[in-house]
Symmetry: C2
Subunit: 524 residues, 2 copies
Amino acid sequence: MIEITGQSYIAGNWITPAGDTFESFNPYNKESMYSFASCGPNEIEQATRAAESAFQTYRNLDGKTIGSFLSTIADEIEALGDQLLEVCDSETALGRVRLTGERGRTCGQLRSFAELAIKGEWVQASIDTAIPDRAPVPKPDLRRMMKPIGPVAVFGASNFPFAFSTLGGDTASALAAGNPVIVKGHPAHPATSELFAHAINRAIEKCDIPTGVFSLLQGLGNDLGTDLVKHPAVQAVGFTGSERGGRTLMDIAAARPQPIPVYAEMGSINPLFVGPNTLQAQAESIATGLSGSVCMGTGQFCTSPGIVVSVASEVFETTLKARLSETPRGYLLNPQIAASLQASLESLNNHPQLEWLNRADFEASSMTPPNAVFKTSARNFLADETMSEEVFGPVTLYVVCEDEAQMMQVAENLKGNLTASVHADEDMELGRKLFDLLDQKVGRVIYNSYPTGVEVCPSQQHGGPYPASSISTSTSVGVGAIVRFARFVAYQGTPDSLLPDALKNENPLGVYRLVNGELTREGI
Amino acid sequence: MIEITGQSYIAGNWITPAGDTFESFNPYNKESMYSFASCGPNEIEQATRAAESAFQTYRNLDGKTIGSFLSTIADEIEALGDQLLEVCDSETALGRVRLTGERGRTCGQLRSFAELAIKGEWVQASIDTAIPDRAPVPKPDLRRMMKPIGPVAVFGASNFPFAFSTLGGDTASALAAGNPVIVKGHPAHPATSELFAHAINRAIEKCDIPTGVFSLLQGLGNDLGTDLVKHPAVQAVGFTGSERGGRTLMDIAAARPQPIPVYAEMGSINPLFVGPNTLQAQAESIATGLSGSVCMGTGQFCTSPGIVVSVASEVFETTLKARLSETPRGYLLNPQIAASLQASLESLNNHPQLEWLNRADFEASSMTPPNAVFKTSARNFLADETMSEEVFGPVTLYVVCEDEAQMMQVAENLKGNLTASVHADEDMELGRKLFDLLDQKVGRVIYNSYPTGVEVCPSQQHGGPYPASSISTSTSVGVGAIVRFARFVAYQGTPDSLLPDALKNENPLGVYRLVNGELTREGI
C-alpha cells in the first residue's frame, strides 16, 4: 500500500508546496479524507525547467524506448492494484465496475500509443528525391516528418479520473510523440493523481527515462492552471472540462507573446434525432436506450444526450419517464457538480416554457440527483438560447417538433457538438438530410445508437466544432490524438547521417513513407 | 484584352463599392494607373451570404468535379496570356521572367490540388469494422474522414501576386477541400487580382460551379480585412504577410465568440550557419551563393537569408561585399516597402554596433535599394533583440562568432523561423549539433544550400514555430496545405447509403484507407 502524503511530484522528487491546502472529499459519506498543499509559481518554474531539460534527451529517444516506457506505465498502473480503485472510488463515487473498466481503457490507451511509437509510422514520413538536372532549376531532395513540440501542460478532468486525467489520453499522446508533460491535477481526485504519479515514477526509473518528462502539480484555484499556461516553456495544452474553463485557457494562450495551441474538449449537448415514423415504430426501445445513455455515469459524460428531438409521442414520453424514474439514482462526483446541477434543475423547473415530466425532489446537499426529463416545444426551444446550454448530470430535454421541417430547423440552429445521433430507419429521406446537415455541426454522427461509450480506435473522432472543442480538426480520443503534440519539419539536401531514422534512405524503421507521391515501405 | 474596371467581384457579379478609392502604382515610373473602390461591410455581407449558400452545394461535389474546376482555373489563368504578365509587372516590377515562372508555379499548384481532389485520398479515410459479439460491450462500426469546414477568408500577399495571392496556394487548397473562398485583394496589385477574378469567373461558368464559391473584395486600409475575419460565416483564414499583420488577425480571430484558426505565414530571418572549417574551405563559393539568395526577388521573399552566422573570414567578407555590390539593383514592390526599407537601412546604419560593409546611397524616394551587408559580433547580436528583426529587402547581417560555442548560442537564441541553412561539410560534429537544435526552431532545415526557392512538393514544409507561422503544425506550400481547411468527422453504425463515397464498403473511389489499422485499397 502506498501512503497518500498530499505531496506533488516534480521530475522525480516528491515535494510539499507552500500554497493553500485542500482536502479530498468522499461523495458517499461527505467526509473529508486526505489533505493536499497547492503548488504555485515556484513549482511551475521547477517543473518547466526540468521538462525543458528532459526534452533535449527524450525527443531523440527511439520509438522502441518510448513505447516500452508507455507500456511500463500501463503495467505500473495495473500494479497499483485494488488501492487505485478504492482510493478513486472514495474520491469520485464512480463505483468499482466503472473504474475497473476505465482502468482497462487507460492502460489500453497507453499500450496503443506504445505500439504507435514503436511502429513509428505516425510521423507521416515523406520523401521527394532530387532531380539535379531539372530545368530551369534543379529539384532538391526534400524529406518531411512530424517531430515533438516541447513541454505540454495537461489538465485532468473530474469525470474521467483515469482515462482523461493524470495518465490519460492527453498525457499518453504527448509522451508518445516525444514531449514532456506537466499535469495540473484535478482537485476532485488528488489522491488518485498521487497514485498515478507513483506509477509513472516507477516506469521512469525502470526505463531509465529523464525524470523531467513528468510532473504532477496539485492545487486548488485557478491561478496554478493559468500561470502554467502562461509559462513560456509550455508549448501546448490539453484540457477536458467545461466550456468556461476551456475558453479561459484558450484566451490566455492566445494572448501570450508566443501563442500556443490549447486542445480543449469542452461542453456538448449531443442531440438525438428520431424521425416521426421511426418514433412511432420504436418508441419504447428508443426511450429505453436513451434512458440508459442519459443515466450512464450519472450523466457526467461529455457525450451525455442532453436533448432528444422528435415529434410528439405519448408512448415515448411515458416510457422515457418510467425508465428514467425507475433507474436507481447515481452519485455525483463532487459537491461543486452537485451544487451546479441543483441550480440548473431549479432554473429549469422554474422556466415557464419547460415542463419537468418526472419531477422529483433533489435537496441541495444531496449527492444523488434524480434522473430527469423536461419537455418543451421546438418553437420555444428555438426562441430561447439558454435551453441549449449543457446541464452536467442525468438530465435530458424532449424537444417536441410539429413536423420534419421543424426538426431540421432545430438541427440548423445547433452550435458545435461532439456528437449527434439519428434514428431514422423508417425516415430515410429525413435521415439523409440530417446526416448532410449534422456532419457540419458535430465530430461524430451516430446512426441508430446513443452517444455515450466512446470507442477507442483509429476511426474515432472525439472533437467537434466550437464550443465542443477549441480546435475542431483534432481528436482527443484514439491514436489520431498524437498529432496534436507534434509538427512537421522538412530536411533539404541532408546527408543520411544527419537525418532521423524515419527519413534515412534504407528505411531502417520499415515504415510506410510517401516516396515521390507513392506510399511504400521500400528504401531509396 | 480585358478592361480593368476597378470593380470587385462577388459571387459572379461585378460591383462598384461605395468605399474610398485607391490607385494601382507603377514602381518603374512611379505613376498611378487604375483606380479602385474599397469594399466595406455591405460587400462582406453579400460575399459571405453567397459563400454560405454555395457551400451547401459545393461541399458535396465529387472530387472529379472539383478537380476539373481547379484545372479549368489554371487553364483560364494561362488564357489571360501576356496581359496578366504585363499588368502584374506594371504593378509590382517583378519582371516578366520571374512572373512567367510564378504563373507556372501558380497553375502547377492548382493542378496539383486538382489531382489531389480527383484522387480523393487526402481525406485520410479510416474504417474500423464492428465486432457485435465483443465483451463486455459490442464494438460499433466507426469510419472517419476529413470534410470541408466552410467559407475561408484569404489575404493576398504583396510579394507573390500570383502564387500567394488571389488564386494562390491558400485559395487553391481551400477550394480543393470543398470550401468557398473570399479573397481580400492586396491593394498593391489590384488590377492583377481583377484579372484573376475574370479567370475564375470563366471557370465557374464552364464547370457550372455555384457562383458563391468565390468573391474578390478589393480595398485599402485595415477595416475590410478585420471585419471579414470577424464575420461569423468565416471559418478559417489564410494569410501571408508581416508578423504585425498576421498577429492582428490572430488576435481578432481568437477573440471571436467562435474562435477560428488563422493560418498566417509571417516573418522570418532564415539564418544561415557556416562551420569554421567549411568557411575556410568554401568562403568564396558560399559568399557567392548567399549573395544570389539575398538579392533574389530584391530580397522580398519570406525565405530571404537575413543573417549569416560564422566565424571571421576576410575572404568571405570581401567576396560577399563584392558580389552584393556588383549585383544590379532590383525594384521594390511598392512605395510602402521602399519607405520601410529606407527606415530600416537608416536605423541599421546609425546603430553603433553595426557596420555597413558595402555602404551605398539609397534615397527615400528610390524604388531600387542597394544590396546591403552589415556586420556585427555575436556578443552584440545576442545582446540586442532588434538585430534579429526581419528587414524586408536585399539585406543580410554577418554575425561574427568567436567559436563554435558562440555559434550554438546564437542558434539557441533564435525565435521560430521558416528555415535555417547549415554549411558544414568540414564541420560534421557542429553540423550534427546544429541540426539537432535547429529542427526545434524552424520548419525546414537546409543542408549545403540557400533558403530561397521553395520547392512545391509533398515533402515541403513551409511554416515554422511562431512568429514564423501562427500554427506551426501546418504548411502553406505543397499539397499538405489542404488539411488546414478540413476537419475530421466520424460516422458510427451508419448504413452504406448515408456514407460519403470515401467510406462506403466497396471503396468506389479506390483510395487507400486505414481499415482496422492497416492501409489498404481493398473494399470491406
